[in-house]
Symmetry: C2
Amino acid sequence: MNFCSDCGEKVTLRIPDGDNVPRHVCDACGAIHYLNPKMVVGCIPEWDDQILLCRRAIEPRYGLWTLPAGFMENGETAAQGAARETLEEAGARVQIDQLYTFLNLPYINQIYVMFRGRLLDLDYAAGTESLEVMMFSEAEIPWKELAFRTIKITLENYFADRKNGSFDFHMGDVLPPNR
Amino acid sequence: MNFCSDCGEKVTLRIPDGDNVPRHVCDACGAIHYLNPKMVVGCIPEWDDQILLCRRAIEPRYGLWTLPAGFMENGETAAQGAARETLEEAGARVQIDQLYTFLNLPYINQIYVMFRGRLLDLDYAAGTESLEVMMFSEAEIPWKELAFRTIKITLENYFADRKNGSFDFHMGDVLPPNR
């Protein structure tokens, strides 16, 4: 952030009065521009003992497999966002069920919120951000070709819980990859 | 948003190629400025059968009672944010426990994420954003003077669950006040 989005003048990075964190402050109009974490919302689309994955047609991680997920938009609930992303990326309609994982990624200012979802039919098709969309049984999951650690963690929890016969909510923190 | 925060030129509100939502687009440098929901994080600070509330010294809802909560900051986890807000607003140290409520407020682009928290001592004191901080038993809760509906919902769930002897996770959507 270099310029004030309200008035167009240059901003300064400094701690405002009464605050304790540096912010982008506009000395021309007085606006303080806060930056906050973004939520990524998605789901595990289920059909019998299979789940749906998408192969990414965009960077980062072009060509790798992921659960449908993306940035939550203004004006929607987290569940609506998860259903929207599933429709956009996989052309698939889901009934969103329980909140399943909540993963903090403080080093990139993101929170991953993943639901369980029931596919309403098998009439899916790759959206513009996907190369292909496929159903996988547990034995078929491409563990070495998953796009993100958040997806790997979510799927590991999912199949472990399924084995135990009880899907518990999981909260966790994901550290930078080189630690 | 009127100006591009990258280059300072005027932005236009239009749907970018390949998108389906109007965004603030800079035709000078090509930047697309996305607006996403913000997370409010806080907790229910517990001590025996009492909980801590803060009386707001700031607008909105000056003079009304609330649980400690505020916007999650970049670089922290949701639980760290909840503990930070409790320290800032109530001068109180808490051990953050389970994720307790997740409330969508799509009409103001916010998500409230409230944890249960155990006060580590009773050495609290009003921060700059609070007029006073007090411990309340269930019978003493100022139901008519609560600052936000999210706080009322969280406390209603809390005391109902406590009566039932089991604190379940609650997810819900909060509609605009005039509906």
